[in-house]
C-alpha cells in the first residue's frame, strides 16, 4: 500500500490533501458561514465618508468629471471599488498589512484589535491581511491624515516623510498634478479603512458646504456598526 502506485496516489495525493483542506480551509469557512458577506451596497448603505465629500469640495470640476453622479453612494461605491483594485494591482498589500494583532502593542499604535467580522465584505475577497510591514498597518488608516496629506504623500512620499521608502505614484495625478480618478479613488479607499468603527472620527453630521446631498446621502450615525 505505502509503496504501490495507486496507494501513494490516493493516500498522499488525495486523502492527505483533502484532510488538510478540511482542517485548514473548510473549518474556518464553516465557522463564519452565518456571518454574511457584505456587498458593495451594504458597505455604502450608511452614507459616504467625510473625506469623499471633502474631495468633491476641493476639486469640484474634476470630481464632477470623474464622478458624474456627484457625491452619492453610487459614486462612493465606485471610488471604493476602484481604490481597492488599485490597492491590489500596485501590491500596496505587500508593504502594508490590514490587521491589528493583540500583541506587541499594536492596538496602542493603531487602534482596536481586528475582529473577524470586519473582513466579511467583498473588498476583502481575497482577504488583505498582508504578510509584510514595510509601511504601517492601514486597517485603521481612515481620518488619520487629511486628504491634503495623502495627495502630497502619494505623489512624492519623501516630501512629507523624508525617510519614506514608499514609491511615488505619479500616475494617480493628472497633468496639472491634481489627483485623477484613480488618485481620488485610492484616497477614498484608504480613508474608508476603519471608518466602520465607533472610534472612527467621522465628523458626525458635518455636511459639505455648497454640495447638494440627496436625502439619503448624509453621513449618518449608522456608520457606527458593531
Amino acid at each position: 500500500m505505502f509503496e504501490s502506485k495507486s496507494g501513494i496516489f490516493l493516500i498522499a495525493g488525495l486523502f492527505f490533501f483533502a484532510l488538510s483542506f478540511v482542517v485548514m480551509g473548510l473549518l474556518p469557512w464553516l465557522m463564519y458561514i452565518d456571518e454574511p458577506e457584505q456587498t458593495m451596497e451594504d458597505l455604502v448603505a450608511d452614507g459616504v465618508i467625510h473625506e469623499f465629500v471633502d474631495l468633491a469640495e476641493r476639486f469640484p470640476d474634476r470630481f464632477a468629471k470623474y464622478f458624474p453622479d456627484g457625491v452619492t453612494r453610487t459614486s462612493f461605491a465606485a471610488a471604493l471599488k476602484r481604490g481597492h483594485e488599485i490597492y491590489v494591482a500596485e501590491a500596496c498589500w505587500h508593504c502594508h498589512t490590514q490587521q491589528i494583532r493583540p500583541v506587541s502593542g499594536e492596538d496602542l499604535r493603531w487602534g482596536p484589535v481586528s475582529h473577524a467580522r470586519e473582513y466579511q465584505n467583498v473588498l476583502q475577497r481575497p482577504v488583505l491581511f498582508g504578510t509584510r510591514r514595510v509601511g504601517p498597518d492601514l486597517i485603521r488608516e481612515g481620518a488619520r491624515h487629511g486628504n491634503d496629506w495623502h495627495i502630497a504623500h502619494f505623489h512624492t512620499p519623501v516630501s512629507v516623510v523624508p525617510t519614506s521608502v514608499m514609491p511615488r505614484y505619479s500616475w494617480f495625478y493628472d497633468e496639472d498634478d491634481y489627483p485623477n480618478r484613480d488618485g481620488m479613488s485610492i484616497i477614498t479607499y484608504v480613508q474608508w479603512l476603519g471608518s466602520w468603527l465607533a472610534e472612527y472620527p467621522y465628523y458626525r453630521g458635518e455636511g459639505p458646504a455648497g454640495v447638494e446631498l440627496g436625502a439619503t446621502d448624509i453621513i449618518t450615525d449608522a456608520m457606527v456598526t458593531p
Binding site: 502506485k5 495525493g13 500596496c92 511615488r168
Partner: protein, 481 residues
C-alpha cells in the same frame, strides 16, 4: 526496497538506448527558460531593493511601479525559474526511472510553449496592473485557467509512464506522484476559492494554505524527489536508509499540508486552528531532520565528493540550508517569536533561504551536472567560473539570510517598543544596504554561470583539462538499493 532496475535495453520493448528514452532537447530548453527567468526575477528583486534604498531609478513610471516588480520577482522565481527547471529535470529523470517515455513528446513541447506563455503573460499582466490578491498566486485571474490546464497536462504526461511501470517503486517516484496530484489541486484551490467562493477570514486561511502548499506540496516533493535521484547516482551508492525515506515521505505528506494557517498567527482566524498549525509545523521539523540525516549518512565515506563534485556540493549546501530554514521555522512558528518577527524582514530572509538557498541551489547543482552533456560538450569551458558562481552565490546567500534575520529582530523590537515608524525605517536602512549588495553579488555569480554555459556551448570542450570529468554513469538508471 530490494530491486535493481533492469539495464537499458532489457525487458522494455522498443527502447534500445537512453537516447530513445529521453528527449535531451526538452531538458535543455526548460533549463534555458529557467535561467532566463531567474535573471529577470533577480533583476526585478534588485530594482525593488533600490526602492528600499530610496534610489529607485524609474520613479513615477507606471510600468515600473516597484510593487508590481516585486510580484514579478516572486512569481518569476516560482513559475519561471523553479517550475521550468523542475520540468526539465523531470524529463531527465522520469523516463530513466520508469524505462518508459513520457506520454508524448509532442505534448511535452506543447507544455513547454504553453508554460512560457503562462509565465510571460503573468509578467505582462502583473506589470499592467492585473494582479490577484493571493500571495505567490498573483497570476492574473484570466491566466489561471491556462495554468491549471498546463499543470493537468504535465501530470498526465508524466504519470502515464510512472503508472505503467512495473515492480517496486523508487522513492523519487513516490514524491513525483504525490507532487503531480498536489500541484494541480493546490493551484486551483489557491487561485479560485478565495476569489470566487469565499472571502474574509476564511479566504485568509485558504490563502495561507496556498502559500504553504505551493512550497510544501509542489516545490518540496519535486525537489526532494530529484535529490533522491541525483545524489545516489553521482555518489554511486544507495541511499542510507529505506526506512527513513519512508518516514520522510509519509511525514511530509501528512504534516506539511496541515501548516497553512501558521502564516496568519494572531490574526482573526480561530485560535485553536492556529495552535493546530503550530504543532503540525513543529512536527514537520522532526520529519525534515530524518530526511536530512538520511542524506548525510549517505554521504558518509564519500565526503570527498563535496570537494571534487560541484553538483554534490550544491546539493548538500542546499540541504544544510534546508535544515537551517526548517530549524528556524520551528522557532519562528512559536507564538512567542511571532510577536516580534511576524511582518518583519526575518520572514523575507526565511523565504529567500528556502526558495533560492535550497531549491535554487539544487536546481543549479542539477544544471552543473547535466548541462555540458546537454550541450554536447565534454566538460565545462572553465570549471573555475563555476567555482566563482558557487562561492559568490553561496556566501552572498548566507550574508543575505543573516542580515535579514537580524534586521527582522531590530524591526520587531522597535515596533513593539512603539518607536515612531520613520525611526524603524532609518534603523532598517543599513540592513537593506547589505541586502542589496548581497543580491548584487548573487547576480554577478549567475553571470559567471551563464557566461560559462555560453562558452561551453560554443567551444564544446574545456579550455583547460577538466579535473572533473563528465560523469557518464548518470546515463544509467542505477538507482536501486
Amino acid at each position: 526496497m530490494t530491486t535493481v532496475s533492469p539495464a537499458i535495453g532489457e525487458g522494455v520493448s522498443g527502447i534500445s538506448s537512453v537516447r530513445d528514452l529521453v528527449n535531451e532537447k526538452l531538458v535543455l530548453w526548460h533549463f534555458m527558460a529557467s535561467l532566463t527567468y531567474v535573471m529577470i526575477a533577480m533583476l526585478a528583486g534588485f530594482l525593488y531593493a533600490l526602492q528600499l534604498q530610496q534610489l529607485y531609478p524609474f520613479p513615477g513610471i507606471e510600468l515600473f511601479s516597484p510593487g508590481r516588480w516585486r510580484m514579478v520577482h516572486t512569481n518569476g522565481v516560482a513559475y519561471g525559474f523553479i517550475a521550468n527547471a523542475f520540468l526539465g529535470a523531470l524529463h531527465w529523470a522520469v523516463p530513466r526511472l520508469t524505462l518508459r517515455r513520457v506520454l508524448s513528446v509532442k505534448l511535452s513541447w506543447f507544455i513547454f510553449a504553453a508554460w512560457q506563455v503562462v509565465v510571460l503573460s503573468t509578467v505582462v499582466g502583473l506589470l499592467t496592473g492585473y494582479a490577484q490578491a493571493v500571495e505567490w498566486g498573483e497570476t492574473p485571474i484570466f491566466i489561471d485557467p491556462l495554468a491549471v490546464v498546463g499543470l493537468i497536462l504535465v501530470a498526465i504526461n508524466f504519470l502515464t509512464p510512472i503508472l505503467k511501470s512495473e515492480g517496486p517503486m523508487y522513492v523519487t517516484l513516490w514524491y513525483f506522484i504525490a507532487a503531480f496530484v498536489w500541484t494541480v489541486l493546490v493551484y486551483a484551490m489557491g487561485n479560485y476559492i478565495p476569489q470566487f467562493f469565499v472571502g474574509g477570514v476564511a479566504s485568509g486561511a485558504i490563502a495561507g494554505l496556498f502559500i504553504h502548499d505551493l512550497v510544501g506540496l509542489f516545490v518540496t516533493p519535486l525537489g526532494w524527489g530529484l535529490m533522491y535521484y541525483f545524489v545516489p547516482i553521482i555518489l554511486k551508492k544507495p541511499i542510507w536508509s529505506h526506512g527513513l525515506s519512508l518516514v520522510g515521505f509519509w511525514g511530509l505528506a501528512f504534516f506539511y499540508p496541515l501548516n497553512g494557517i501558521h502564516h496568519f498567527l494572531y490574526s482573526p482566524i480561530p485560535m485553536f486552528l492556529q495552535y493546530g498549525a503550530v504543532i503540525a509545523t513543529i512536527a514537520v521539523e522532526l520529519v525534515v531532520t530524518t530526511v536530512v540525516v538520511n542524506f548525510f549518512m549517505t554521504l558518509r565515506h564519500r565526503g570527498d565528493a563535496l570537494r571534487t563534485n560541484l553538483a554534490i556540493r550544491w546539493f548538500y549546501i542546499g540541504m544544510v540550508f534546508y535544515f537551517m530554514t526548517c530549524l528556524q521555522c520551528a522557532f519562528q512558528v512559536s507564538l512567542t517569536f511571532q510577536k516580534i518577527i511576524h511582518f518583519t524582514d526575518w520572514v523575507v530572509g526565511h523565504s529567500h533561504l528556502v526558495m533560492f538557498g535550497v531549491f535554487g541551489f539544487w536546481i543549479l547543482g542539477m544544471m552543473v551536472h547535466l548541462l555540458p552533456r546537454l550541450l554536447g560538450a565534454t566538460g565545462w569551458y572553465r570549471s573555475s567560473w563555476n567555482e566563482w558562481h558557487f562561492w559568490l552565490t553561496g556566501i552572498s546567500m548566507l550574508v543575505m539570510f543573516f542580515d535579514l534575520m537580524i534586521a527582522g529582530l531590530v524591526q520587531g523590537f522597535m515596533w513593539k517598543d512603539l518607536a515612531v515608524w520613520e525611526a524603524t525605517l532609518t534603523a532598517s536602512a543599513p540592513f537593506w544596504l547589505i541586502r542589496t549588495f548581497s543580491g548584487v553579488a548573487i547576480i554577478v555569480g549567475q553571470f559567471f554561470f551563464i557566461s560559462n554555459i555560453l562558452m561551453t556551448a560554443v567551444y564544446k570542450r574545456p579550455a583547460e583539462p577538466s579535473t572533473e570529468p563528465v560523469d557518464t554513469s548518470a546515463i544509467d538508471p542505477v538507482v536501486a538499493t
